[in-house]
Symmetry: D2
Subunit: 284 residues, 4 copies
């Protein structure tokens, strides 16, 4: 049994659903999941579909070719097709904060995450013992003003060598270079410690304290060139009060960051996220 996941988007047009489902059926595929969305403002059609093929001689490459020649050109589809059994490979970039790292590795260990973690990378050595205790390779790539380009080169090498599918910045605290972003478009997930678009930039809890908000938030998004402005994957909030000091807000925020980032990772790893025009469509 082979199972594939297909994600497509295109201009909205008649018969697109029926055409794709018929194609699957006529190739002995049994559709086991289908969900779709139409963005009425922009007239764009989105679909996620999972399909099983019982044939023992199913070849993903050949099926991709067939799909391409039969439907892609006709409907001008943008598409991605995955073997549903193949776990994506995630690189973890961290710095000195450990709460998101512990949360991710705890879930990873318990089998909650459908992914592999070939390595953890950090500009500091502080979290190496945690990586060690989970038996995950740890690379120390310091970043200084002088070594920035060199560090980036080292990162790219590691990502390529390990055939990384997507990157998670688990409070990495460094601006990621345009080169990296261009090479991994909508594949670098960040956790921002505020309810975006409120409190863009550094020290959002300080700003939240100053403004006297009654709710703090956390936002996971794909990294784009513009700071904290990439497509939002997941957000959550917690209620706070005047009794919270900045330190209290930061502590409360850590709980949000952990869960919001892990949820975003799960959605991405399970290929449930599509991006169009800086917004996400999430088939959950």
């Amino acid at each position: 049994m082979h199972k594939i996941t297909l994600l497509i988007h295109c201009a909205d047009q008649p018969n697109i659903i029926a055409s794709v489902t018929s194609f699957m059926a006529s190739n002995d595929g049994n559709i086991v999941y289908i969900d779709q969305h139409v963005d009425r403002e922009q007239n764009i059609f989105f679909m996620r579909l999972a399909c099983e093929f019982s044939s023992g001689i199913f070849s993903l490459d050949k099926f991709k070719e067939l799909f391409k020649s039969t439907l892609v050109e006709k409907y001008k589809l943008k598409w991605r097709m995955y073997s549903a059994e193949r776990k994506p490979k995630m690189a973890l970039f961290v710095s000195k904060y450990d709460h998101c790292l512990y949360d991710i590795l705890g879930r990873y260990n318990s089998g909650e995450l459908f992914l592999e973690i070939p390595f953890i990378l950090s500009n500091h050595l502080d979290l190496k013992p945690i990586a060690d205790s989970f038996n995950i390779p740890f690379y120390h790539v310091p970043v200084t003003k002088a070594t920035k380009r060199e560090a980036e080169q080292k990162q790219l090498e590691l990502l390529e060598k390990h055939a990384i599918d997507f990157i998670v910045l688990a409070r990495y605290m460094q601006i990621v270079s345009k080169t990296l972003i261009d090479k991994y478009p909508n594949k670098i997930i960040n956790i921002h410690h505020s309810f975006l678009p409120a409190f863009v930039g550094a020290k959002p809890y300080h700003s939240a304290y100053k403004r006297g908000v009654k709710i703090i938030g956390s936002t996971s998004h794909y990294i784009t060139e513009e700071l904290d402005a990439g497509p939002i994957i997941e957000q959550d909030i917690a209620h706070v009060s005047h009794t919270y000091s900045i330190k209290d807000l930061i502590a409360k925020g850590r709980d949000l960051e952990k869960i919001v980032l892990s949820n975003a990772i799960k959605l991405h790893a399970n290929r449930k996220v599509m991006v169009y025009n800086n917004k996400t469509i999430i088939f959950s």
Copy 2:
């Protein structure tokens, strides 16, 4: 342009999605929405689908016939098909509490609800002025131990006369008879003022106070013969503390009841709810 909504469920089996979508396409239908769910424990397939037909001579009755002869028997489908333009007719049963009534009528007035309200029925006269101010017919059907059967008869007549599709008990405070339940299966929506299955029965806020819970809830469900045990449509909660008196819990609960009931009404009126084995599948 005609638009239909189709809800089906059946034993899970190969090609069911492709068969239905092909059927629509081969009858000049353009599928504009599709969502499905498989209950893996019980091996049941559920689907909701919306389809547009541009043909000026489309007849819902004929199409239903065709669907039945082509697919229903083959796949042993349980199914419902609606003209998506036809608003369902909702009867509102109330007693003396007005908060849910105001909330529903406010939304109704603002055009938020896709339904018609042919009448409001109550065993008391207290809320008649509200019905009047919204220009909705109000029937006073008192219920006493002696007149119970007679009242039920009157209710059934009104429901039939107005071709009511579903009934909402907006804090109606009376046990609904088996006759009514049997005639409107999964079509009588109740709001229970607790987080079911905690605090079944009367006075749930008193029980919540006594147990010292830190969260109160509200549950909207379809009425079945067993008290407060019908399929759950919607639930929500609010955080409370030791400072809440029973009166405070009741006041806080009113906010929950309003929103939970209105959400359940919207889901039902938009034909987004399916029921199987006392549980709901909600295509939202």
Copy 3:
């Protein structure tokens, strides 16, 4: 039995709590509620206290004099003292949206709100029937560019004539003048339809849609000269998804607006809110 509510703030200093509680005791007052907060950043002490006096000859005016001469000067207190039995008078300013108005009047009718509503004022006539159905005087004060000053004068007269304590803008949709703000500092409550400080200004749901947020919010705050920048009293949020159109966001937002505004009104009417340096301290 007389009951007073006292709110004070001052520079944080030793013995302030004991001094105030001793003062009450030595004047035959029995403290039935006390709560306090220290802002450690600004070194400011805040306290809310309720006290009962059984003496039949208790005079609030005389007691205020005594409090002033005994404690206010010594500790350089900023203070407010209320008869806890006296309901504050609230003026309701509305425009064309009715959801907040219905919500407030429904609660008012049910006895949930500790306040009086001497009148409702609007720049349009649309909501007059609602005011009428609740038997509350309705004043139509149109606002155009030409009549702006005249309208403001009319508003001030009405507020004075009815001895209004605070004003609620229940989606009033007009910029309130500096004159009014200066006359009612931290006494004009607004509901903003976003999670401030995200999406300041007009059309926040359009901005939220464009940014692709996964959560929308609502904020109730006191009006200050700077737009949407006044002290925040209450906030709440709702989860949304890519399937929400702008219209859907607006509908979902209405539920938030109603509850957030009503909660803010309750906190203010029960004298549970203090303001310092553009932030609120809420003794709930």
Copy 4:
């Protein structure tokens, strides 16, 4: 500078607040925190107070004596007085699940928890490596039907030897004996994986799945003899849908369990919880 935390409750009576605050002031104490609650149903007064003493010769024991002879007998107070600097000692009982353990130890390491963890105890060896990696002594005390009494004896010895103040059952999965409960009344914190009182007992997620709830919860409470019926400290919930399998509910529940238990630990460790008649008063 010495700082104490005082918790008292007694029959509600006039002047109790003023008496306590005066007592503190007359002993050169500066009250830095005060909060109180009156249970109007049962007529019980509760207070939490923090007070600083600058005198270099302050003795907690002597002050306790003085407090006792001056106020305790007069007002028939139930009371506890702590040196606010002394961290309570917490024993962690675990079994095979690691998510709560990781969460607690992560917070412990980051300095978020005001407590010491002298040891971790388990009936299995599975989690020993985690205890080791955090450098916390781990005791393996297997529990079988035959060794039950012996195991309990071993537990009591360890608790006594390490002068444990309170016990946390972080998914310990064993019924705790009456002997232990009697020795640590309202000092054994459990995490139950449902929104109590719904789904008491084992396998609550299976029951939640069967009932088709739209919300799952988690409850932290003190252990009493009656199963899952002790005073509730903290609860939280998450929204779920028909798409959640039992496995999904369990995974989602883990997030709740972690945060709810950690919050309960924080409240207890900071002496913010009082218990009366099987309910908690929480001064947060």
